[in-house]
């Protein structure tokens, strides 16, 4: 405090400090207190910054512990600062985070590459195997690249190393590994593993037996199976299956059983355990996704194969019988007069339903020809009349009982009959009502008449009536023949009518060649008319007769001119037979 006083006053202050203080208080007391106050405030203001610097870390820690507000209020600033820093000096940030990011990226890439390399190695290994070929086919089938297929079937797990370790000393007794793997440090790995297990056992006390069975190192899983004198460890890449430990246990038990004495007497010489290597090698396995199938034992595989073959046979039989059934049904449907509406195929009995014209083919025969046993088929036919032309003809043939000389054909709704057949049949045919047929055309049929009619006709047509020269007058001796003709014709008419035919009699008059043609023509007509009148007088209906005069134009030949002249001065007869339904005709 004395430093603040002017130098001149020092002696007095020292000589009488109390008096001076009293005086000073009296003189500038209030001002001095103000001054003190001001100075304190000034000093306090100056100290704050330092004090903040002093207490900032604690303050931040305190506040951060209390709530999240500090982090929230700071984060925009920090983000801004980082952004600014990245914008202005990116290399600084890059070098700062490099030590973290570099290894992280490297590790990630290395892991991925290791996986891919393993998968590709497996692929190369398998490329000529059936599996590889399967993969190639799958690649070709799916349109994916072979590599994609391979990765899809990537490694599930691979047992890369199997170690047999002496339990007490941790010394490696034997080990197995694929030839491509470097295993020079197997003995160290073995010891180290024992040490780790010892450590774990010590750390988690109370579990004397068992201990660490599984632990992971990078991408490896170490599985440990503990036995009384030895333990078996497997280094597995990928995800080991649950039953691997069980299989390892079996191996370990075998080792204990077969190598019990060497294990008991083990003094550091592992030579005796070289023989365990084949046992250990059994545990080396590479399993890719599609390998799992190969694990199936042979027995079930054969069974599956047989089952598959049986299914195949069954399917083939089913396909064949289905095809045969369809063929048969189609054949049936093709048959005229059969309409298949519904089929129901059963294993033992089948059913066919539809419409069937009674005149159609025998259904059972059609089915039997197609290889289907008709006894196993139930039929449900609705009778119907088919208008299918072959059916109509077949039906007409059946209905009309057409004789051998008759051919039937259908033109539209007209049944056309040709050939020759009994006159009675023709009449019947004309009158028959056949479904599908409106008209039976028998004009092409030559009717064959019974013997009676043929004989009567000959009796009439063999006769001639002779006339004297130049006259149309019927001579008296013609009386008898005319009567005979009238009688024969009456009988013939009756016979024909029974068959549905109508008989007609044509009377043809002639003259000799002497005289004028005109005169002769007239003379011949008069002669025919005279005979006609004579027949009418004996009961022959005029509408059944027809008189024609041919003069000398159609002469009958004689032995000499005189005989010929005598023969032609005559009247001859022709008999016509026509169906009763027809108005005219019947003359040949």
């Amino acid at each position: 405090m004395s430093d603040h006083l002017p130098p001149g006053t020092t002696e007095n202050v020292k000589s009488s400090p109390r008096a001076f203080d009293t005086l000073r208080d009296l003189l500038v007391g209030p001002e001095r207190r103000d001054l003190e106050d001001l100075r304190r405030r000034l000093e306090a203001a100056g100290l704050t910054t330092e004090q903040i610097a002093e207490h900032l870390p604690e303050a931040i820690a305190l506040r951060a512990a209390r709530d999240e507000k500090l982090a929230r209020s700071l984060s925009p600033t920090i983000e801004g600062a980082i952004q600014e820093s990245v914008r202005r000096r990116p290399e600084k940030i890059a070098s700062a985070i490099y030590p973290i990011i570099g290894p992280a990226i490297r590790k990630s890439i290395a892991d991925t590459m290791a996986g891919i390399v393993t998968a590709i190695n497996q692929a190369i290994e398998h490329s000529l195997s059936p599996q590889g070929i399967r993969w190639r086919i799958e690649s070709w089938r799916t349109g994916m690249s072979y590599a994609q297929i391979v990765i899809r079937h990537a490694l599930v797990y691979r047992v890369e190393q199997v170690l047999l370790v002496h339990a007490e000393t941790g010394i490696l007794l034997a080990h197995a590994a694929p030839p491509d793997l470097d295993t020079t440090d197997a003995d160290l790995v073995s010891s180290m593993m024992s040490a780790i297990r010892d450590f774990v056992r010590d750390s988690f006390k109370g579990r004397e037996q068992g201990g660490l069975r599984t632990f992971r190192v990078d991408e490896f899983t170490i599985l440990v199976e503990q036995g009384p004198r030895a333990l078996l460890a497997a280094k597995v890449r990928g995800q080991p299956p649950d039953d691997l430990l069980e299989r390892m246990q079996v191996t370990l038990e075998t080792v204990h059983f077969e190598f019990g004495d060497p294990l008991k007497q083990f003094d550091g010489d592992a030579a005796a355990f070289a023989a365990t290597v084949p046992l250990l090698e059994e545990r080396l396995e590479t399993v890719v996704a599609t390998d799992r199938r190969e694990g199936t034992p042979r027995g079930p595989r054969v069974a599956w194969g047989l089952a598959g073959f049986a299914v195949l046979l069954l399917a083939a039989w089913f396909a064949w019988s289905t095809w045969r059934w369809r063929t048969a049904v189609n054949a049936l449907a093709q048959e005229p007069g059969i309409v298949v509406l519904d089929t129901d195929r059963g294993l033992r009995r089948s059913r066919i339903a539809g419409l069937r014209d009674p005149a159609s083919a025998d259904v059972r025969e059609v089915l039997a020809q197609a290889g289907i046993d008709p006894r196993r088929v139930e039929f449900d036919w609705e009778p119907f009349v088919s208008l299918d032309p072959p059916m109509v003809v077949a039906r007409a043939t059946a209905r009309l009982a057409a004789p051998a000389g008759i051919a039937l054909a259908l033109a539209g709704d007209t049944l056309v009959a040709t050939g020759s057949g009994p006159a009675a049949w023709v009449t019947r045919a004309m009158a028959a009502a056949i479904p599908g047929v409106t008209v039976v055309d028998v004009r092409g049929v030559t009717p064959l008449f019974p013997e009676t009619i043929v004989r009567l006709r000959r009796q009439i047509e063999d006769r001639q009536i002779q006339f004297a020269i130049g006259t149309p007058a019927l001579p008296p001796e013609a009386d008898s023949p005319v009567s005979a003709i009238a009688t024969a014709f009456a009988r013939l008419e009756a016979e024909a009518a029974r068959l549905g035919y109508r008989a007609a009699l044509r009377i043809v008059g002639r003259t000799d060649s002497n005289g004028a043609t005109e005169t002769n023509q007239q003379l011949s007509r008069d002669r025919a008319a005279a005979v006609g009148r004579a027949l009418a007088a004996r009961g022959v209906a005029t509408e059944a007769m027809e008189t024609v005069g041919v003069g000398s134009s159609r002469p009958i030949l004689g032995d000499d001119p005189a005989d010929a002249a005598r023969l032609n001065r005559s009247v001859s007869f022709e008999v016509g037979l026509a169906l009763a339904t027809m108005t005219r005709g019947g003359f040949e």
């Binding site: 941790g170 010394i171 010891s191 010590d202 550091g268 010489d269």
Partner: protein, 168 residues
Amino acid sequence: MIQKKICMVGVFGTGKTSLVRQFVHSKFSEKYHSTVGVKIDRKPVQLSGTTVNLLLWDLEGRDGTQEIQTSYLRGASGIIYVADGTRIRTFDQVFELRAIADKAVGIVPSVCAVNKVDLIDAWQVGDERMAELDPTEWHALKTSAKAGTGVEEAFHWLAGAVIGERPE
């Protein structure tokens, strides 16, 4: 080839790891690394009749002798006890460690390596103390991991002892 488990035992900083490094890799580093848990190394040793592959379990050195992890000693064929010749207390502790180990694994061929003999000025273990190591129980010798003094001998002697042959 015969393999044998050998343990390096001693309190911290006596030079167990350095002795192994010198023996296996013929290297020495002034830097001090404390071992955590156990480190394992191997070295084949050529003896007159045969080769012994030594698996060297370098145990973590701790402050007190009570804390030693005896489970690491299980199955050991031989033990190398290491003392620091410049710290007399570590020499005393060797006897305590020996008692614990004998109890845990029984009596096995043992070597007592009083290490750091290169540090003559700081040396504290006099000949009368060295004489306390009974030759029927120990093979005692002064070693220097730094200079390599006695290192080969210590391991060779033990290798011979564990397979039951005594080198001359």
